[in-house]
């Protein structure tokens, strides 16, 4: 490839600007397996002790595996609810002659832009009242509900690109409306479903404020809350341990992203072709 400008000045400039970020990532990893004397920047010994949370439960904390399982259940359940409701609601809003359609569309838009934090006290009171405070189910329902506007909106956009004739042809071929949706329309928007699923899972995996307020108990704690509690604890301040848990927390996300990055891109590409 030839270019009409020299590329090394650009690369140098970008390199200089990026160095702080790169250093942070490097030290995030290096610090988890080494010890560094105070005041020095060069580590003086290797150690595995910062990863001790993997084989012993830290005092006053839940087991890391309980927290990981909770996070996984939380993210997966949220994703399933979001997918189930978005894929049907999006279709209804895109195709069916539902009453108050315009109102729903506008409402979904407003909800999408609504800042979650403003609702949190009301949600807390409601969960407390119906007995779902400090349960995974409660926080899953809340998170799914808040993710839904985005999901419905995205799915509606994808359904809009499916040709009307395909559905009419399905009806003529004798299929019921539900069969048409399941066998003919849904496969056309599969890329959107995949992408939305991954997005929801990542959003659930990284969610912090909702579990912190609505499910802080050790039994139902998720990784983000577990992690935050580590630095909130002034008596046992351990920066290297915090970084190790952080790396442990982020690895599944990176693996997932490597697997699915192509699918993730398609959510902004729109629709499928043949």
């Amino acid at each position: 490839m030839t270019s009409n400008y020299r590329s090394w000045p650009m690369i140098l400039a970008l390199g200089v600007v990026t160095i702080p970020l790169v250093l942070m990532y490097v030290y995030l990893f290096v610090d988890t397996v080494t010890n560094t004397a105070p005041g020095s920047v060069v580590p003086h010994e290797f150690t595995g002790e910062h990863w001790r949370f993997l084989w012993e439960t830290l005092p006053g904390r839940p087991s890391i595996y309980v927290a990981t399982l909770n996070t996984f259940v939380f993210a997966t359940a949220t994703t399933l609810i979001v997918l189930a409701i978005s894929s049907t609601a999006g279709y209804a809003i895109s195709r069916l002659n539902v009453p108050f359609r315009a109102f729903f569309l506008a409402g979904v838009m407003v909800l999408h832009a609504f800042p979650t934090v403003t609702l949190i006290i009301a949600i807390f009171l409601i969960l407390q009242f119906i007995g779902l405070y400090n349960t995974l189910i409660g926080v899953i329902l809340v998170k799914a509900a808040l993710e839904l506007p985005f999901g419905i909106w995205i799915m509606k956009g994808f359904y809009d690109t499916v040709p009307w004739e395909i559905e009419m042809a399905g009806i003529q071929d004798g299929a019921s409306r539900l069969t048409v949706w399941r066998k003919l329309v849904l496969p056309q928007v599969m890329p959107a479903v995949m992408a939305l699923g991954i997005f929801s899972f990542l959003a659930g995996w990284s969610e912090f404020i909702l579990p912190l307020v609505l499910a802080p108990d050790n039994k139902v704690q998720v990784l983000s809350v577990y992690l935050a509690a580590l630095i909130a604890d002034d008596n046992n301040f351990d920066m290297a341990l915090f970084k190790s848990v952080g790396v442990f927390y982020v690895v599944p996300v990176i693996i997932m992203f490597l697997f699915f990055q192509g699918k993730l891109m398609s959510i902004y590409g729109g629709g499928t072709k043949g």
Partner: protein, 350 residues
């Protein structure tokens, strides 16, 4: 299966698109609904297949009233203009879809798909996906899918509109062949008079939600009921000349053209409109008319001329491509007066 539309009415909100239309299509017949955009031909088609609910009147298949039967239970095969193939399924799965919905056994489906694929000549394409097919092949798949469950009626909505000229010619005769071989009752919606004339047993020509005339193609060409029908059928189109007739003598307002007509409306002057098809205005025609050639279109075997009369009205002439008349040349060609079509002021045939 005979199709009968009785006082079929369709309105969208307060707008009545089709008002009390009657149409009977015989068993095994292929009828074209022909008309300009917005004349209600597609609306009629969608009412027959059940996508649109009828607002009034009845639709019968045979003796069965299907007016309020949902699409799924009407047993109508439809070929859409865009073919509407299912992009995620193979050709075989596309064709087999209606059978799969009926929960027929896999062996039955495979056998029937093979049979119908043989009929429409796509036996070697069954494992492909629609995106890997040409337009003509997609069309054949759409036909096969519409026919595979032996529908009572086959509906074709502008089936050739998306094909290039050569394929269109080929598919025209293919669709007709398949319709004849299966003996299915078929309705073709088109705005192309050539398609309608070449493919169908009868043509129902529509305008503004009404059937203006229904007849066999040549009958309609020779004896159009109105100037609208005459203007719609024929390519190149018929030329109209307005004027008055007195004592069997026709003259345009400026006197640029006068001919005697085999028609006597009496002494009184009467406004009429003549329709002259291009093939009946030529050198050696019975009644000469003077004009100047304003346009020449060589079509290979034939040449089309536009001839302007002195007052600017245009006659068209189509001739075997031997006469080398050029633009600007003054000519004195003749009209075959016994083939002239005459219409009154409102456009009705005299």
């Amino acid at each position: 299966m005979r199709i009968l539309l009785e006082k079929f009415t369709k309105s969208f909100g307060s707008l009545t698109v089709i008002d009390e239309m009657d149409l009977e299509i015989d068993d095994g017949e292929m009828v074209a609904l022909l008309g300009p955009s917005g004349c209600g031909k597609s609306t009629t088609l969608f009412a027959i297949c059940g996508i649109h609910r009828v607002s009034g009147g009845r639709i019968l298949f045979g003796d069965r009233d299907v007016s309020s039967v949902p699409s799924q239970q009407r047993n109508v095969g439809v070929v859409f203009q865009s073919y509407a193939l299912y992009p995620h399924l193979t050709v075989a799965q596309n064709i087999g879809f209606p059978l799969m919905i009926r929960k027929e056994s896999n062996a039955d489906i495979a056998r029937k798909v093979d049979e119908i694929a043989e009929l429409v000549h796509i036996g070697n394409l069954l494992e492909r996906r629609p995106a890997q097919l040409s337009g003509g092949q997609q069309q054949r798949v759409a036909l096969a899918r519409a026919l595979v469950r032996k529908p009572d009626v086959l509906l074709l909505d502008e089936p050739l509109a998306n094909l290039d000229a050569k394929l269109r010619l080929e598919m025209r005769s293919e669709i007709r062949r398949i319709q004849r071989e299966t003996g299915i009752t078929a309705v073709l919606v088109t705005h192309d008079q050539v398609e309608a004339m070449s493919m169908c047993d009868r043509i129902a020509i529509m305008n503004e939600g009404r059937i203006v005339q229904i007849a066999e193609p040549m009958e309609m060409y020779d004896n159009p009921a109105s100037d609208f029908v005459a203007g719609f059928l024929g390519n190149p189109p018929i030329a109209f000349v307005d004027g008055v007739v007195t004592n069997g003598r026709f003259a345009t307002a400026s006197g640029a053209m006068t001919v005697s007509l085999p028609f006597n409306a009496g002494e009184r002057e009467r406004k009429i409109r003549l329709g002259i098809r291009p093939e009946f205005f030529r050198p050696g025609g019975t009644q000469p008319v003077a004009g100047k050639i304003t346009f020449v279109e060589a079509q290979g075997r034939e040449t089309l001329y536009d001839v302007a009369l002195e007052d600017g009205q245009i006659l068209r002439s189509i001739q075997t491509a031997t006469n080398a008349a050029t633009v600007g040349e003054k000519v004195n060609w003749g009209i075959d007066v016994e083939r002239i079509l005459m219409f009154d002021e409102d456009g009705a045939r005299l």
